[in-house]
Subunit: 410 residues, 2 copies
Amino acid sequence: MAAPLVISLPRLRTHIEALSRFGRNPDGRGITRSCWSPAHEQARAWLLQRMKEGGLSTWVDEAGNTFGRLGNGGPAVLTGSHIDTVPNGGPLDGALGVLAGLECLQTIHESGLRVRLPLMMAAWSDEEGRYAGLFGSKAFAGKLDAKDIPNLRSADGERLVDAMARAGFNAYDAPKARCNPKTIAAYVELHIEQGPVLESANASIGIVTGIAGISRFVVELFGRRDHAGTMPMDRRRDAVCSAAACILAVERIAAAGAGTVGTVGEILATPEAVNVVSDYSSFCGEFRSSAPSWLTEVIGQLEQAVRLESAARGTRSAVTWRPPEPPVVMDDSVSQVLADAASVIGHDAVRLFSGAGHDTVQIARLARTGMVFVPSVGGRSHCPEEETSLIDCGRGIETLLQGLVMLDAS
Amino acid sequence: MAAPLVISLPRLRTHIEALSRFGRNPDGRGITRSCWSPAHEQARAWLLQRMKEGGLSTWVDEAGNTFGRLGNGGPAVLTGSHIDTVPNGGPLDGALGVLAGLECLQTIHESGLRVRLPLMMAAWSDEEGRYAGLFGSKAFAGKLDAKDIPNLRSADGERLVDAMARAGFNAYDAPKARCNPKTIAAYVELHIEQGPVLESANASIGIVTGIAGISRFVVELFGRRDHAGTMPMDRRRDAVCSAAACILAVERIAAAGAGTVGTVGEILATPEAVNVVSDYSSFCGEFRSSAPSWLTEVIGQLEQAVRLESAARGTRSAVTWRPPEPPVVMDDSVSQVLADAASVIGHDAVRLFSGAGHDTVQIARLARTGMVFVPSVGGRSHCPEEETSLIDCGRGIETLLQGLVMLDAS
């Protein structure tokens, strides 16, 4: 058993506040720190400086992943997360996991504790997917396809190649960030839960059992354009009404599952005039679940519901499914070490699965992985109100620190 | 009783085909002839030429209304419609009424028939409201507010002032188009039905009893932005799902009325990312009915439904009503003349109300008004498929011609 190590909550708070200034919106609420943006690159420079001050050796790889390291030699125990945010996001999603890694490695460095294996921390590029979700961790896992790179663009059309060039990177080199799996002993990511489970359970620590799979789809409704004043209700083929009924079907199907969610987050095509019955409407949505079987079942359920709702209004319909992202299961041995670590420092840990995707999904291809969650106030995230108490942040980081030391020793 | 007059169907067909070439879309289907556009101004020049050839004196007023006249002296029997179209509209909405007026006046001129009162025809500006609905007829009726003019814009932001200037008009002069009511004895507009009532009744002639009133509204739903993967279904405040339920409430309320319609034709705000639960959604819709009482009742019905649907999902809501457009009743004496006219030439006329608004709404402020409808194939309009058989067009124009002569003699 390693000696008890004490992290610095004041330093953590200072770091959280300092990092949250990069990309702070003009209104003072919310943070927009998209990967490769000037705000992100300033945050990267700030992080490199903090890591050096913390006693770590540092480097940035070809995919823009930022690393810090303590100790030399073979396979490293790795922790990390990301410092990019969604537009108008909060101060903790990603950032807390990176600053937790810094706090753990700096605390170990300052304690003079000798580690058996090197310890490493990473800030992965573009987790939030402004250009490509999980970009950096995917490149690190060797799963980045070089021929996709010229086609990657942001929603507003900017090419990844141009964004990376502006930040001083050559996007075509990103696949070179591929890591030799033998160099990674284990990976643990600390992250805010982004949901209400821990808060409801009054627990400070969550040990993640797995990450939900995602099935994304586009529903299209083909109606008939008619004059809104003259076509009787019972003779219409209204694509907007069909779309509304299909959106409620997504809600209904997701609510009927256990621990499953379904969301319509993007309406792609809508009518433009109030005096015309709509001939076309489409929307994009997703289902998430830890159960692969449910993600298979919903395909048939949604398609049937869309068919029925559409037929009831005389419209035609089409459902297009994107390639599914299957659920990822965390490594039992790592999860047990993390639960033991929480126990050592006196916190009960709740087991839960993650509805959100994380870089862990990619690193799980390389190494044994586990995740620690800390509670999100009100379950909120991806918004300015995103919050975790400093006490809970500290308990999570203590658990991570204890876990890293135990993994190092195991 | 006036002598029987015979219109020329071949000439009518030639005119319909010629006019439909102005603004024909590049794909050969559909017509986009927005008021003040080059296509519209070319169509106006073509119409002026045809009216002159038909023996009419012609002029264009300050609001861009195009007139033709037969005979001199006081109050005129007026007919008219419009030559502008909706984007990707059809060849008959508006155009048929204008060409019907031309056909009637030219036929009378060529017959040598002496008319007691002058006969006039008009093509009213911007009936479809690219910049402002019923613009020309409203100006003619003296209801155009000069101080609104600088603020009138198309949906894509172009100012009416600039559009009219490009077409050679000074928008600020448009209120000068105001007509002295004493100069108009009666107004009759022929128009395609744009609905399926006449076709279903197997009737060629409709006599319009009134024009539906319209209540337009904006529904806003205020939800809570959450991560789509982590917020359980039963704890969401999803603005998109609330909006979908409210859209179906519009459909349900309209379907429950008698001869009433309700349409959501514009979704104003929608979420932008598939992985975020939406915090705001809004849409614009309308109800139409010939019954003022129903248009009053639906205010409470919609507001209650929105409140319930929104509350069921924990969202807040707001319904904003635009100033209502009350139903307009046609003049009984004019309608009776039109029914008698149809009877004289051997066609049974069906009485029906118009779900679509027409320039008649404005001219009814000045003079006794009536409308003749001809059937729309499949009830379609505001689309490239808009169609009325030449036979039915001819029967409608014969009725209009007979009606104008009877109104002239009455």
